[in-house]
C-alpha cells in the first residue's frame, strides 16, 4: 500500500510537471493576455514539489520497515542492518538515488515558484516552464525504466544487503549533499533558458540566479570535500583524490558552477558578460547531467557492459542530448540578440574575472577530456588509462595562472584600473611566492608541482586578506567576507594537498605483538590483537599504541572487518589527528608466523585539505547570506521609494 501511494504521487507529480511546462509556455506566448493561464504555473510547481517529496518519504518508509515485497528493498537492504543504514540505503542504489534527484529538483522548482518575485513575470513563466520540461524527462526516466516502487511477485525471505563500503555515516549524507548541488544547478539552467526565451538577460536576472548558484555551489563544495574525506578513511590506503571518473563527475559541475558564480557577479554588478553567463548556466547543469549519466548508466565499469544493458544509459543519453542540445540551439539562435554589455579594461576586476573564467573553463575541458577519452577509445576496442600523471600536470597549466590572478583580481577596481595603483600589494605577493619557493626548495626532495603548490598557497593565504585593507572591518559587507573566507579556504586546501604529496611518509611493517616500528616522528607499538563483532560483521581489531616524538602514547584500534551480508572484507582505518597532521593506521592480515601486517602513514597537514574545503563552503554561505540580506533590504528600499512616488503623485 505504502509503495503504491509513493508511485501514485510520482505519476501525479509528473503530470503536474507536464502542466507546468504547458501553462508556462502558453503564458509566454500569450504575453500580457495570458494572466489567467499563467496563474496556474506557480501552484503546479509547488504542488509538484510536495508530491515528489511525499513519494520520497514513502520510499524511506518501505526501507525503514524493510518491506521485502518491494524489489528495491529486497535487493539493497537487510533486516539486520542498523536503522540509519536502512534509511541511507534508500538512496544507495540506482532507483532510489534517481528518485532523490527528481525530488530535490521538484522541491527546488517549487521553492522558486514560491519566493522568486524579482524577475519580470514572463521570464518567470518561461523559467518555470523550462524547469517543468527538465523535470518531466527525469520523471519519465524514473517511471519507465527505474521504478523504485516495483513489487516482487513473491516477497523475499531476506534482503541481499548493502555493500559494506557504503555502510558508513559518510554515505548517509554524501550523495544527498551532492545531489542538492547538481540539481540546484538545474535552477540556474532554467533561469538561463527563461532569460534567453524572453531576451531579458539583465543584472536583475543575474541577482535572481546568483543565490541558487551559490547554494548549489556550497552543497557541491561540501559534497566533494566530504566524499574525498570518506574515500580517504574508508578505502584504507591514505589516498584522498584518485581522478576516478565518479569523482570527476562531481568536480566538473563544481568547476562550471565556480565560473558561473563569478560571471553572474560581473553581470549583476556591472551588466557585462551576458552571453557568457547564460552559456555557463547551460554548461553547469549539463555537467551535472553528464556526471549522472557517467555514474548511473554503468558505462564506467565498461563500455561493453553498457552496450549489453543499454536501456537506462540510452535513456539518460537521450535526455542529455535533448536538454543540452535544445539549450545550445536556443543559445545559438538568440546569442546574436544578447549583446555582451558594458565594456571594461584588462586591468580591472572584470578583466581578472574573465581571465579566471576562461582558465576554469579550460580546466573543466581537460577534466572532461580525460574522463571521457578512455570511454571513447574503448568503443574502438583500444583501452587506455588516464590518471593522476595526466590530470595533475596538464590541469596545473591552467590552474596555476588562475591562482595567481585569483590573488590579484580582488584588489583591482571595477571597469578601469592600473596595476601601478596596487604595485605594493603585487610586490608583496611576488615576494611571498619567491620566499616560499626558496624556503621549500632548500628543504629539498620536493617535486615541482607540490613545491609550486606550497609557495602559492602561502602567498594566496596572505593575498586573500588584502581586499580588507583600508576597509572598516565592522562595516565590510558580509558578501566581501564571504569572498575573503572562500579564497583563503582555497589557499588552505592547496597547502594541505601540496604538503600531503610533498611530506607524507609510509611504513609497511609486519610486527609481532609487543614489537614497535617507526613512521615519521611516530613510534608505533602493536599492543594486542582481539576479535570483535558488530551487528552484521566480525573483525580482527588491533590495539596500537602510537607515541608522537616520544610523548604520551595514544591508543588506536584499526579493524579488518568481515561482513556477512553480502560477504566482503574491508579494512577500517584509524586516525590520530594532531594540529600538524594525521597518523593513518590500518591492520591487515596475519603474516603467518605470528606477525601482523600494519600499514602506517604520517601525513603532515593533510587535514587542511578538508578544512580548506569547509572554509570555501563557509565563504559561500556568508556570500549567500550577504546577498539575500542585501536583496531584502533593497526590496524594502524600492517599496518605500515607490510609496513615496505614489504619494508625491497623489
Amino acid at each position: 500500500m505504502i509503495a503504491e501511494l509513493g508511485l501514485a504521487a510520482l505519476w501525479l507529480a509528473a503530470a503536474l510537471a507536464a502542466l507546468q511546462l504547458l501553462t508556462g509556455a502558453l503564458a509566454v506566448r500569450a504575453g500580457a493576455d495570458g494572466a489567467e493561464i499563467a496563474a496556474l504555473t506557480r501552484p503546479a510547481a509547488v504542488l509538484q514539489g510536495v508530491l515528489a517529496g511525499f513519494a520520497f518519504a514513502m520510499l524511506l518508509w518501505v526501507f525503514a520497515v524493510t518491506d521485502l515485497s518491494v524489489k528495491l528493498v529486497a535487493s539493497n537492504s537487510h533486516s539486520m542492518k542498523p536503522l540509519i543504514y536502512k534509511l541511507s540505503g534508500a538512496w544507495g542504489n540506482h532507483e532510489g538515488s534517481m528518485l532523490l534527484w527528481v525530488t530535490v529538483m521538484a522541491l527546488a522548482g517549487g521553492l522558486i515558484a514560491l519566493v522568486e518575485r524579482r524577475l519580470p513575470e514572463r521570464t518567470m513563466q518561461a523559467t518555470l516552464s523550462a524547469q517543468g520540461f527538465v523535470a518531466l524527462g527525469f520523471y519519465a526516466f524514473l517511471l519507465l525504466s527505474s521504478n523504485p516502487f516495483e513489487r516482487l511477485p513473491v516477497p523475499a525471505a531476506e534482503g541481499l544487503g548493502l555493500n559494506p563500503l557504503l555502510q558508513d555515516i559518510g554515505l548517509a549524507f554524501h550523495p544527498p549533499t551532492l545531489y542538492f548541488g547538481y540539481v540546484g544547478l538545474s535552477i540556474a539552467f532554467s533561469f538561463a533558458v527563461g532569460a534567453l526565451v524572453t531576451r531579458q538577460v539583465t543584472p536583475d536576472f543575474a541577482s535572481a540566479m546568483r543565490p541558487w548558484v551559490l547554494g548549489a555551489w556550497v552543497f557541491l563544495t561540501l559534497g566533494i570535500t566530504a566524499g574525498s574525506y570518506w574515500a580517504y578513511y574508508e578505502l584504507g590506503w591514505g589516498g584522498w583524490w584518485f581522478w576516478d571518473p565518479v569523482e570527476n563527475a562531481s568536480l566538473m559541475p563544481w568547476l562550471a558552477a565556480t565560473a558561473l558564480l563569478h560571471s553572474a557577479s560581473v553581470l549583476a554588478a556591472r551588466d557585462a558578460l551576458r552571453a557568457w553567463t547564460i552559456m555557463l548556466g547551460v554548461v553547469a547543469f549539463s555537467m551535472s547531467m553528464v556526471g549522472t549519466f557517467l555514474v548511473r548508466s554503468g558505462i564506467l565499469t565498461s563500455v561493453h557492459a553498457f552496450a549489453v544493458d543499454p536501456e537506462r544509459g540510452t535513456f539518460i543519453l537521450f535526455l542529455l542530448m535533448l536538454y543540452i542540445g535544445g539549450a545550445l540551439l536556443l543559445f545559438a539562435l538568440r546569442a546574436g540578440t544578447v549583446t555582451e554589455g558594458t565594456r571594461f579594461a584588462v586591468a580591472s576586476r572584470e578583466g581578472a574575472l574573465v581571465f579566471n573564467n576562461v582558465m576554469l573553463s579550460a580546466t573543466l575541458a581537460i577534466v572532461l577530456l580525460g574522463t571521457l577519452y578512455p570511454l571513447l577509445t574503448e568503443a574502438f576496442d583500444v583501452r587506455v588509462s588516464v590518471g593522476p600523471p595526466y590530470f595533475n600536470p596538464v590541469g596545473a597549466i591552467f590552474v596555476i595562472p588562475m591562482l595567481l590572478v585569483m590573488a590579484v583580481g580582488p584588489l583591482l577596481r571595477w571597469r578601469q584600473d592600473g596595476f601601478g595603483r596596487i604595485s605594493r600589494e603585487l610586490a608583496l605577493i611576488g615576494a611571498l611566492i619567491l620566499a616560499g619557493l626558496v624556503l621549500f626548495a632548500v628543504i629539498g626532495g620536493i617535486d615541482l608541482l607540490p613545491l609550486l603548490g606550497l609557495a602559492l598557497a602561502g602567498a594566496l593565504a596572505v593575498a586573500s586578506f588584502l581586499p580588507l585593507k583600508g576597509r572598516k572591518l565592522r562595516r565590510t559587507p558580509i558578501a566581501i567576507w564571504g569572498m575573503v573566507v572562500a579564497h583563503f579556504g582555497i589557499a588552505v586546501a592547496l597547502f594541505g594537498m601540496a604538503s600531503e604529496s610533498a611530506f607524507s611518509q609510509e611504513r609497511l611493517a609486519a610486527v609481532r605483538i609487543g614489537e614497535a616500528t617507526q613512521v615519521g616522528p611516530w613510534t608505533i607499538t602493536l599492543a594486542g590483537v582481539a576479535p570483535v563483532a558488530g551487528p552484521n560483521w566480525t573483525a580482527i581489531e588491533g590495539r596500537i599504541e602510537a607515541s608522537y616524538d616520544g610523548g604520551e602514547p595514544r591508543v588506536l584500534r584499526p579493524q579488518a572487518r568481515n561482513f556477512w551480508a553480502p560477504p566482503q572484507e574491508t579494512t577500517e582505518s584509524e586516525l590520530a589527528t594532531r594540529w600538524n597532521g594525521q597518523l593513518y593506521a590500518v591492520i591487515g592480515n596475519e603474516a603467518g608466523d605470528g606477525r601482523w601486517q600494519l600499514r602506517l602513514w604520517w601525513k603532515p597537514f593533510v587535514t587542511l585539505i578538508w578544512y580548506g574545503g569547509v572554509l570555501v563552503a563557509l565563504g559561500g554561505v556568508l556570500a549567500l547570506i550577504g546577498r539575500v540580506l542585501g536583496d531584502i533590504r533593497r526590496r524594502g528600499f524600492r517599496r518605500r521609494l515607490a510609496d513615496r512616488r505614489a504619494e508625491a503623485l497623489a
Partner: protein, 134 residues
C-alpha cells in the same frame, strides 16, 4: 584485441585463483630497505592501474593482483631496472590500459593536442576581448 586482452586476463587470473589462499607475494606488503628505491617504486606504483579493481592504482588496493604487481615493481626496482623499463614491461604484457600515464601515441595524441589547442583558444579569446575593450 579484445580477445587478446581477455585471454591475457584469463592467463593471469587462473594462477591467481589458485593462489588466493596462499600468503601474498613477499614484497606486496613490504617496503624496500633503501628509501630512495622505495620512493621510486612508490612513485611508479601510483601510476599503474590495478586491473581487477575499478579506478584504483596498485598502490591503493588490497586486491591480490595489485599485491603481486607491487611485488614485481619492488623486486625489479631493487634489481636496478628503471621505472620506465618496468612500465614498458607491464605495458607490453597488459597493454596501455595498465599505465595511468598516457604516452603520446597513435591512440592518445588528442589528449595532448587538445590542451595545446585549449591554450591557444584561451589566449585568442582573452586577446580578442581585451583588445576590443582597451
Amino acid at each position: 584485441m579484445r580477445a587478446l586482452l581477455a585471454s591475457i586476463a584469463v592467463l593471469f587470473a587462473s594462477p591467481l585463483l589458485a593462489q588466493q589462499s596462499l600468503p601474498p607475494a613477499p614484497y606486496a606488503y613490504r617496503q624496500l630497505d633503501d628509501p630512495a628505491q622505495e620512493q621510486a617504486a612508490q612513485d611508479l606504483m601510483e601510476t599503474l592501474r590495478c586491473l581487477t579493481c575499478q579506478s584504483q592504482s596498485i598502490a591503493d588496493s588490497d586486491a591480490p593482483m595489485a599485491g603481486d604487481m607491487r611485488h614485481q615493481v619492488r623486486i625489479r626496482i631493487a634489481s636496478g631496472e628503471s621505472p620506465d623499463e618496468i612500465r614498458g614491461w607491464l605495458v607490453e604484457r597488459y597493454g596501455d590500459y595498465v599505465s595511468y600515464k598516457p604516452e603520446v601515441g597513435a591512440a592518445t595524441w588528442p589528449l595532448f593536442a587538445v590542451p595545446v589547442l585549449l591554450l591557444m583558444l584561451a589566449g585568442a579569446l582573452l586577446l580578442r576581448r581585451y583588445r576590443r575593450r582597451a
